[in-house]
């Protein structure tokens, strides 16, 4: 017990959802002041997670901590911890070679899962607010130049050089300017920004104050998705602490610089992630994008010059200012500098957040760091960039992560969502899913975005029901280009990407639906058939008892039969049969 320095429980949203609070409570009875909550540890797939820090520097990460394990742990801490509980042990010989650690490079996530996000003291111990201190002594022009020299590009999707954006905003003359943090993270299946806000809220606040200092803004807004209550709570706490320490407010660090911040909650509209829409939403209006120019740097929120940056972009800023532009620019490729955070989900073994240097390959991220595909299934595609991005096949897994190389594939870097798909995912179904998302989220202002995407959705729906024609594929491509060119904002301009990329890389699957009337992945309900194998069926009756619509008949120990008219293709019989007697085709 004495050789234990600290025990940390991962208490980000996903940890809490997995029961981290209960674990914390159980442990706190025995461990009291050595126990602490922290943010996303990164290995979200083994939640609830705890990490034990020993006085000699050894670190143990333990996963799947249920109440039973927690109770045992509280007892066992003096003795040994069972091998199978341990995910990582820094004292083990293999540790240094684990690609999970050796291939990652944490800058934006430098404190996530390490410090207690609710303690400003712990942030300060990690050189927190030192970047701001330095920034306050620099002329604004130099500060913008420093960020430009670092090569940092916007992590919200578009990848615009941050230093350049700051220069534009700095150049705009006005009595009031704003800096805005885009924490709307609307891409469904991505949670990098949530992890950052929950794990290290001060890094984002500090980035904003530095940004304010650079462009001459004295007021900032953080626009956060309403679906992220914990992120909002931690930001609110952090804001109070930063105010108490005078890092936010009047005469920051004794300088003449004043800066204040306000948190705004979103109200559930994806399009509000678009910068002009977001500003209209802060103003209290419907979040509809408007034409640029004027750019926000000239006329943004309430008509004042405004600079908007993504959460991850801002979290990098304090590090860059403190350690220098060179240090950041030394990481990455010619085209893209620094690191990028990705959220891996879907059929990948180790889902969670990872941060890699630019220039890493998709294969390294998906297979080396994240363990490859769950249940030893076959990799089929990785979806990058959400509804604006694309699905890339196996043959492109050696593509490096940088803006240029990813754009060349037809996908985009996007904000960092990577959804991994296996042989049981149908690409037509996925394309249909994203189109449905766009149809629902389009603000309706542009005809092509509103109607064109709906037309595309209808075609995909037809194909998935086996009623498609080969000419539909050309029609999809044609409509895709029209929607891209006829839309005002990024939502419409990129909405066809998932369809266009999947047509490019998975055309065979579309053809199988159209000409063969088959869904190779066995997903599209209209195209699959469940039958029972005469040879294998033992007549155990399990399927019949599980069928929700009583479509299966047969006596005990006799062959069972599926009534195709009644079957709703739910697949339950296929899942429950223990003799592999149900055939899906």
């Amino acid at each position: 017990m004495n050789n234990i320095k600290r025990i940390k429980v991962g208490m980000a949203s996903c940890g809490l959802a997995a029961g981290a609070q209960e674990i914390y409570d159980i442990l706190s009875a025995d461990l009291g002041d050595k126990l602490e909550g922290t943010g996303c540890i990164g290995m979200c797939f083994r939640e609830p997670l705890i990490e034990i820090e020993f006085t000699d520097g050894r670190n143990l990460t333990i996963g799947d901590v249920d109440p039973e394990r927690a109770r045992l742990l509280a007892e066992k801490l003096t003795t040994e911890i069972p091998e199978e509980w341990i995910i990582y042990d820094t004292a083990s010989k293999e540790f240094a070679k684990q690609p999970y650690f050796s291939k990652q490079h944490k800058i934006a996530l430098r404190n996530s899962g390490i410090i207690n996000p609710e303690s400003i003291e712990e942030y300060l111990e990690k050189d927190g607010y030192e970047g701001l201190k330095k920034a306050l002594k620099m002329p604004g022009d130099d500060l913008c130049q420093l960020i430009l020299d670092s090569g940092l590009r916007g992590r919200g999707g578009a990848g615009f050089p941050t230093g350049l954006k700051w220069k534009f905003a700095r150049r705009s003359q006005n009595d009031q300017k704003y800096i805005i943090c885009n924490a709307d993270e609307g891409d469904p299946g991505a949670f990098m920004d949530r992890s950052l806000l929950e794990g290290d809220p001060h890094a984002v606040l500090e980035g904003m104050v530095i940004g304010g200092c650079a462009i001459g803004a004295t007021m900032g807004y953080i626009y956060v998705r309403a679906e992220y209550p914990l992120a909002i709570e931690r930001l609110e706490k952090a804001l109070i602490q930063a105010r108490e320490k005078c890092f936010i407010g009047k005469n920051i660090f004794g300088s003449s610089f004043d800066f204040d911040l306000e948190i705004k909650k979103g109200a559930g509209a994806f399009v509000c992630g678009e910068e002009t829409a977001l500003m209209h939403s802060i103003e209290g209006d419907r979040g509809m994008p408007t034409l640029k120019p004027p750019f926000p740097a000239e006329s943004g929120l309430w008509g004042k010059p405004s600079n908007i940056n993504n959460v991850e972009t801002l979290a990098n800023i304090p590090w860059i200012v403190f350690y220098g532009a060179d240090k950041y620019a030394a990481i990455g490729t010619e085209d893209s500098k620094g690191t990028k955070v990705f959220a891996l989900t879907g059929k990948v073994k180790y889902s969670g957040t990872v941060e890699v240097p630019m220039g890493s390959t998709l294969r390294e991220i998906i297979f080396d760091i994240s363990g490859g595909i769950k249940n030893d299934k076959q990799f089929k595609a990785v979806q990058i960039g959400g509804p604006s991005g694309g699905c890339l096949p196996e043959s492109l897994l050696d593509t490096v992560v940088e803006y240029k190389a990813l754009n060349a594939t037809g996908a985009i870097m996007g904000s960092g969502g990577m959804v991994v798909m296996d042989e049981e995912t149908c690409m037509v179904d996925v394309a249909k899913y994203f189109l449905n998302f766009t149809v629902e989220e389009s603000c309706g202002k542009c005809t092509f975005c509103r109607i064109g995407t709906r037309r595309m959705y209808e075609i995909l729906d037809r194909i998935s029901r086996g009623e498609g024609k080969m000419s539909d594929l050309d029609e999809l491509e044609k409509l895709g280009h029209q929607v891209k060119n006829g839309s005002l904002c990024g939502l419409g301009q990129t909405a066809p990407n998932p369809v266009i990329t999947s047509l490019k890389y998975f055309r065979d699957e579309y053809v199988a639906h159209i000409e063969g009337k088959k869904c190779p992945a066995g997903v599209c309900k209209e195209l699959i058939l469940f039958t029972i194998d005469e040879e294998k069926c033992t007549g155990c009756t399990l399927c019949a008892r599980n069928c929700p619509v009583d479509a299966i008949s047969g006596e005990v120990k006799k062959l069972h039969l599926i009534d195709q008219e009644a079957c709703i293709k739910c697949g339950k019989c296929y899942d429950v049969c223990r003799f592999d007697a149900v055939i899906k085709e």
Partner: protein
């Protein structure tokens, strides 16, 4: 209407004379009533001098705002990408079957309302649902049925 005015007056006071307040005001009202009562629109309009058409425009634009009363438990099914590829469709079917309602409907006993959302940010636990403020992850049909049974039986206060 008069009663609504009395109820909302203190809440609206702090927003008077401020700009960009409509969304936070509606969020406060929804927090209190779990939906936006039609009467409240007139009150906001009068107190904060915002045209009714604008208020209704904002309510209909944002998915968060509801114009109908809801059940005690709001069951939100995640329909984000990660949940989608992990078969959230079958979770959704199970819930509809167990509660005998469709999405955006409320059970007759006013206990459950079913909603769909795009990503709750716990994608690594996909498929995920949220009941009021509590998140449930790594679900399958059996687990979902059990959770709903538990809520039906125990009816915990939120």
């Amino acid at each position: 209407m008069i009663q609504m005015l009395e109820e909302l007056k203190p809440m609206l006071a702090k927003y008077k004379g401020e700009r960009g307040v409509l969304i936070p005001v509606l969020q406060d009202i929804q927090e209190k009533y779990k939906y936006i009562p039609p009467d409240s629109v007139a009150v906001i309009s009068k107190e904060l001098r915002i045209p009714v058409t604008k208020i209704n425009g904002v309510i209909t634009f944002y998915a968060q705002f509801r114009s109908e009363p809801v059940g005690k438990y709001i069951v939100r099914i995640c329909n984000g990408t990660a949940c989608f590829v992990n078969n959230s469709e079958s979770i959704s079917d199970t819930l509809k079957e167990a509660l005998k309602i469709d999405v955006d409907e409320t059970t007759e006993d006013k206990l459950f309302t079913l909603e769909k959302v795009a990503c709750l940010g716990c994608c690594s636990l996909a498929p995920v649902i949220m009941i009021n403020d509590k998140v449930f992850g790594k679900l399958d049909s059996t687990k979902v049925k059990k959770i709903i049974e538990k809520y039906k039986k125990e009816q915990p206060d939120e």
